[in-house]
C-alpha cells in the first residue's frame, strides 16, 4: 500500500516536473520578449514624444477644438498620453509574441485571434478620433453662427450638435469592435432621437425671433431705404 502511494506520488511529481520543464523555455522566451519589448517601447515612446513636441502637437489640438493645455496636467498632456499608448501597444505586442513561444495550440489560437482583432481596434480608434474632431469643429461652427444670429440658446445648440456627432462616432466604433450590436443599435437610436428632439426644441425656441427678423428683412427690401439698420459696414 505504502509502495503504491509512493509510486503514485513519484509519478505525479515526475509529470509535474517534466511539464514544468517543457514550459520553462517558453517562460524564458516570454520574459525575454517582455524585456526587449519594454526596452523598445521606452525608446519608441521617447522618440514619439520628441516628435510630437517638435510639431507642436499639443497646440495643434487646441486648434482642432480640444481643451487647452492649461486644463491638462503636465504628466497627462496629449503628447505624453500618445507616447504612453504607443509604448503600451509595443509591450502588448511583445507579450503576445512571448505567449506564442509556449508552442501550445490554445495560445496560438489566442494570439491569432488577438492579431485578427487589431484592425478592428485601429478602425474604431480612427473613427473615434475623426468623429471627435468633426464634432468639435461642427460644434464651434454652430456656436459662432448662433451667437452672430443673436440666438440665446446657441450654446445648447452647439453642445447638442457636438454630442450628436460623438454619439454617432461611438456607435460606429462599437459596431466596428463588434460589441453588443443589438443593444448598441437600440441605445444609439434612443439617444440620437433624444438629442435631435432637444435640438429641435432649441431651434423652435429661437425660431420666433428668426422668423420675425426674416419678415422684417423682407419688409425692408420693399421700402426705399432701410431705416432699421442705418449702419453701413463697407
Amino acid at each position: 500500500m505504502r509502495e503504491q502511494v509512493k509510486q503514485a506520488l513519484d509519478q505525479s511529481t515526475t509529470r509535474f516536473i517534466s511539464a514544468t520543464t517543457r514550459l520553462l523555455p517558453g517562460l524564458v522566451a516570454l520574459i525575454v520578449a517582455l524585456l526587449i519589448s519594454v526596452l523598445f517601447a521606452w525608446i519608441l515612446a521617447m522618440v514619439v514624444r520628441r516628435l510630437l513636441v517638435s510639431i507642436r502637437f499639443d497646440e495643434r489640438l487646441i486648434g482642432w477644438g480640444f481643451p487647452s493645455s492649461a486644463e491638462w496636467s503636465p504628466i497627462k498632456r496629449p503628447s505624453v498620453l500618445v507616447s504612453r499608448c504607443v509604448a503600451a501597444l509595443v509591450i502588448m505586442t511583445g507579450f503576445l509574441i512571448g505567449v506564442s513561444a509556449f508552442d501550445a495550440e490554445l495560445t496560438s489560437l489566442l494570439v491569432r485571434s488577438v492579431f485578427a482583432y487589431v484592425p478592428n481596434i485601429l478602425g474604431a480608434m480612427l473613427v473615434l478620433l475623426v468623429g471627435s474632431i468633426i464634432a468639435r469643429f461642427l460644434g464651434r461652427s454652430v456656436l459662432i453662427g448662433a451667437v452672430n444670429m443673436n440666438f440665446q440658446y446657441g450654446r445648447l445648440l452647439s453642445v447638442g450638435v457636438k454630442w450628436l456627432v460623438i454619439v454617432l462616432a461611438v456607435a460606429m466604433a462599437l459596431e466596428q469592435l463588434r460589441i453588443g450590436s443589438g443593444i448598441v443599435e437600440l441605445a444609439f437610436g434612443i439617444l440620437f432621437g433624444g438629442i435631435v428632439l432637444a435640438l429641435a426644441l432649441a431651434v423652435a425656441l429661437n425660431s420666433k425671433e428668426l422668423v420675425t427678423k426674416s419678415l422684417d428683412r423682407d419688409a425692408a427690401k420693399t421700402s426705399t431705404e432701410s431705416i432699421e439698420d442705418p449702419l453701413r459696414h463697407l
Partner: protein, 414 residues
C-alpha cells in the same frame, strides 16, 4: 495665355482685335445710358492722343448708341462689352469685385496699357471730372496708384473706418482713407509689381493687395477727392460673412508683407488731388442696445474661443466692459487696436480655423460699433474726422505690441 483663365472668351476676342491701348477703363458699376455717356464724354477731355479701351458690364448703354464713340474727335475710345465674372455679387460682393479686378488687370496687361482705371461705385451726383481725376495723376503726374477719398458719413464704411484704414495706415505708414478703393487709378508699374507676385495665385487678392503692394514696392500713391457715392445695396447674409471676405485677404496681405511693415514707424499723409466736398450727415438713431446685446452674448458664449486668441488681460477688460450699461458703453481705442492685432496674429498662426476666427470677431466689432454710434450720434463731419484720427493714433501707439507678438508669438501666447 495666363489671362485666359479670368477673361471670358468673347471678350478675349474683342481685346485681341484692339491689339493695344494706352488706357484701360473698367466700369463695374451698373450705369444708366446717360451716366455712361457722361463718363465717355469725360474721358474724351483727357489730354493727348490716347487709345482708351473701356470694359463695361453695362451692355445696354453700349448697344443703345453703337456709333457714338466712333463719331467724335479726340482720344479714340473702344468699348468692350464685359461680362460679370466671379460669384453672385449679392452673396459674395468682395469675391465678385476681386474677380473683376483680376480680369481688368489681365486685360490691361494684354493690351500693354500704361494706365488703368476702375469705376465700381455709383455716385449720387455724377461729375465727369471725378473720373478723369482718378486717371490724371497716373497719366500726367507719374503716380502709380490713385485712391479715392469720398466725403465721410459717420455711419457708413464702418469696417473700413474701424479696422482696414487704420490698420493699413499703422502698418505701411501712409494715411489712406479707402485702401480697398473700390474705385482706383493705377499705372503699368503696378501691373508689373503685382505680376511679379503671381497675381493668379490663390492667396493673392487683387483688391486687398493693391495698396500694400504699391507701398512696399516703393510706388507713388496719392488720394483723389471725388464725390459721395451710393453704397451698394447688396443683401449681406450677415456681418460675419462680410468680416471673413474683407479681413481675410487683408490679414493674408499683412502676413505676406511682414518684412515691409515691421520696419515702418509712424505715418505720413499722401499727396492729394481735387477739392473735398461735404456729405450730408445722417440723422438716424442707431439701436445701440441691439449692438451691446450682441457683444454681451459674445462675451457669454465665446469666451472659450477668444481665450485661445486674446491674452487674459484683454479678456478681463472685455468682461468689465460687458457689465457697462448701454449709456456708458465705450470700447477704448487701444483695447480695440490690440484685439485686431491679436486676431491678425491668430490668423497667421492658424490658432483656430480661419473662418471661425474671423466670424468670432463679429460680437467684438459690434461692441466697438456700439460705442462709436453712441458717441457720434449728434456729431458733425469734423468731429467724426477727429474721432477716427484718435482711433488711428491708438493703432499706431499699439504697433510695438503687434511687432513683439508677431516676432515672438510663443513668448506672448495666451
Amino acid at each position: 495665355m495666363e489671362g485666359d483663365v479670368v477673361v471670358q472668351q468673347h471678350a478675349l476676342g474683342k481685346i485681341e482685335d484692339l491689339d493695344a491701348a494706352d488706357l484701360v477703363v473698367g466700369i463695374l458699376a451698373d450705369l444708366d445710358q446717360e451716366t455712361a455717356a457722361t463718363v465717355y464724354e469725360a474721358l474724351r477731355t483727357l489730354q493727348g492722343e490716347l487709345r482708351i479701351a473701356i470694359l463695361s458690364t453695362n451692355v445696354g448703354s453700349v448697344q443703345a448708341d453703337p456709333d457714338w464713340v466712333s463719331s467724335r474727335k479726340g482720344p479714340l475710345l473702344s468699348v468692350v462689352p464685359w461680362p460679370e465674372t466671379g460669384p453672385d455679387a449679392s452673396n459674395a460682393p468682395m469675391q465678385s469685385i476681386s474677380a473683376a479686378y483680376q480680369a481688368i488687370l489681365t486685360a490691361g496687361e494684354m493690351l500693354g496699357a500704361r494706365a488703368g482705371c476702375i469705376i465700381a461705385s455709383k455716385f449720387e451726383v455724377v461729375r465727369p471730372h471725378w473720373i478723369c481725376q482718378l486717371v490724371q495723376p497716373v497719366l500726367e503726374t507719374g503716380f502709380d496708384l490713385a485712391i479715392p477719398q469720398y466725403p465721410r458719413r459717420k455711419f457708413e464704411g464702418l469696417l473700413n473706418s474701424s479696422i482696414i484704414s487704420p490698420l493699413i495706415r499703422c502698418l505701411y505708414g501712409k494715411r489712406i482713407q479707402n485702401p480697398l478703393g473700390p474705385d482706383l487709378g493705377f499705372s503699368r508699374a503696378l501691373f508689373e509689381v503685382l505680376g511679379g507676385s503671381d497675381r493668379n495665385a490663390p492667396r493673392i487678392h487683387p483688391l486687398a493687395s493693391l495698396t500694400p503692394v504699391a507701398i512696399c514696392g516703393q510706388l507713388r500713391v496719392c488720394q483723389v477727392h471725388i464725390g459721395p457715392r451710393i453704397l451698394p445695396s447688396t443683401d449681406w447674409t450677415n456681418i460675419s460673412s462680410l468680416l471673413v471676405q474683407a479681413l481675410g485677404p487683408v490679414f493674408l496681405a499683412m502676413e505676406r508683407n511682414a518684412a515691409c511693415w515691421q520696419k515702418t514707424r509712424g505715418s505720413i499723409p499722401v499727396s492729394g488731388f481735387g477739392e473735398p466736398s461735404a456729405a450730408p450727415q445722417e440723422s438716424e438713431t442707431i439701436d445701440v442696445n441691439r449692438l451691446v446685446n450682441s457683444f454681451q452674448l459674445g462675451i457669454r458664449d465665446l469666451q472659450e474661443i477668444w481665450g485661445s486668441v486674446l491674452p487674459p488681460t484683454t479678456l478681463l477688460e472685455l468682461r468689465k466692459l460687458a457689465r457697462s450699461s448701454s449709456e456708458q458703453f465705450q470700447m477704448p481705442d487701444d483695447l480695440w487696436a490690440r484685439i485686431v492685432y491679436d486676431f491678425a496674429l491668430a490668423h497667421r498662426l492658424r490658432t483656430i480655423n480661419r473662418e471661425h476666427l474671423l466670424r468670432s470677431l463679429t460680437p467684438l466689432y459690434l461692441g466697438w460699433a456700439a460705442g462709436y454710434a453712441r458717441e457720434m450720434e449728434t456729431a458733425n463731419e469734423g468731429e467724426v474726422e477727429r474721432r477716427l484720427e484718435r482711433l488711428s493714433n491708438a493703432y499706431e501707439a499699439s504697433k510695438p505690441y503687434l511687432v513683439s507678438r508677431w516676432r515672438w508669438p510663443d513668448r506672448f501666447s495666451p
